[in-house]
Symmetry: C2
Subunit: 250 residues, 2 copies
């Protein structure tokens, strides 16, 4: 069933009707050709999932009636913020799209010393808007009940100051090379829901030893993610899968 | 350091020399412009890693001298075969590239009832050759000591007959919807290295209930991979990350 996110509060009472937001009308009625009686899912601002039936539409506006109202648990018990150095090409898009499917709560892209890519100030807002749209699409497809946020920090220092977290890990290749293999598990064992995990990843070129020291000085733990070398856009997917496996399956 | 796979046995004794295979000469000498004295890593057919220095080259042939000889443990203790229904576009490429980084031992693509993509017999060999090349490149980049194999099976029945495994799981959306959350962990708990895990995934359209029954009848367990819906090319990455987390970090 098609899923849409509502950005304003609506009635959640079964049998009541609400106005479908214009964006969703466009997709549901124009693209998906919904007819009166057809149902879709609407995620409320409080993360409830309403199944609602189309009552009437003129193609621009639409009224839907609440059929059921649920609060499915589909979000990671430990919310994860994925912070990545700026990487090239469509890597930020890939990280946001797949990371959203895998349950990330927030994405932060930050400038770092060895980053090859730069986000010119003039293009930054457009890039963030595009990534937010990708996050929304992936959240709808993967049946999330929240859309991850996407933001930018101009430096590692700003990242560490501005992003709230209860525990932090930084994926560091050198940890992996030294055979470090238990810090991620230790960190997860010490966390209890709904504590927030910040996971920091370098750009393609990696983080400098200085940056890793700065991150560790902020209380963030350097962790190895297994003995294989992963690309910048793959390591966040490993981390998110591991957090899900640990919190939701083990 | 650049890494190349050798496809024939060479001396592994420190100080001895060997002829660098033509393919590697082309990349190492022509593309990377290696000079006598420069070092690279060569993975032997027995999965050892030799560091070797270029001794002499005329641009077509090259001789290298073994500097060191190691047997790093970078392969998953439980070898995983990823079997996927045929999916569209570049999804097979993505699965092979990222799945190789995440440690898969083998990839099998199989035709299934709801597969939208078809691999015409005339193009199959070319597709497999291309995917094998992607696996080799990703294995070099991620510092694996083996190159995953890539193959094709014309049906689910052939897959289940031809692919050897000690335990099997099939990712099934319905399991996830029903809140199933422990079968993957149970399966992994019962395995001991070097037992082989077969992990089966549907194409975009999923597997039919009939196919899932057929798979289960072969002793393969239906597993949920968390409460979010993942795309066909993301679910194998979740599985591989989870196996690594379980075997290599926990």
């Amino acid at each position: 069933m098609q899923r849409y996110f509502l950005n304003e509060p609506v009635t959640t009472t079964v049998g009541q009707t609400f106005a479908v937001p214009t964006d969703s009308v466009k997709h549901w009625v124009k693209v998906m050709r919904a007819q009166p009686g057809d149902a879709a899912e609407f995620v409320t601002v409080d993360h409830a999932v309403l199944v609602a039936k189309l009552v009437v539409t003129d193609g621009r506006e639409a009224t839907a009636q609440v059929v059921s109202n649920q609060q499915p648990q589909v979000e990671l018990p430990l919310p994860v913020t994925i912070a990545c150095g700026l990487s090239k090409g469509d890597k930020p898009e890939q990280i946001v799209q797949r990371g959203t499917e895998l349950g990330a709560s927030a994405f932060v892209f930050f400038d770092s010393q060895w980053a090859v890519a730069k986000w010119a100030a003039s293009k930054r807002e457009r890039k963030l808007a595009r990534l937010a749209k990708i996050a929304q699409g992936a959240a709808e497809q993967s049946h999330r009940t929240m859309i991850p946020t996407v933001s930018y920090e101009a430096s590692l220092a700003q990242l560490l100051t501005n992003v709230p977290y209860d525990a932090g890990v930084v994926a560091w290749e050198e940890s992996a090379k030294q055979g470090e293999s238990s810090q991620l598990v230790q960190t997860l064992k010490q966390m209890t829901p709904p504590q927030r995990l910040l996971a920091i990843f370098g750009p393609e070129g990696g983080l400098t030893p200085d940056e890793v020291s700065q991150i560790q000085a902020a209380g963030v733990t350097a962790v190895g993610l297994g003995p294989r070398i992963m690309r910048a856009e793959t390591a966040p997917l490993y981390l998110l899968s591991s957090v899900s496996f640990w919190c939701e399956l083990v």
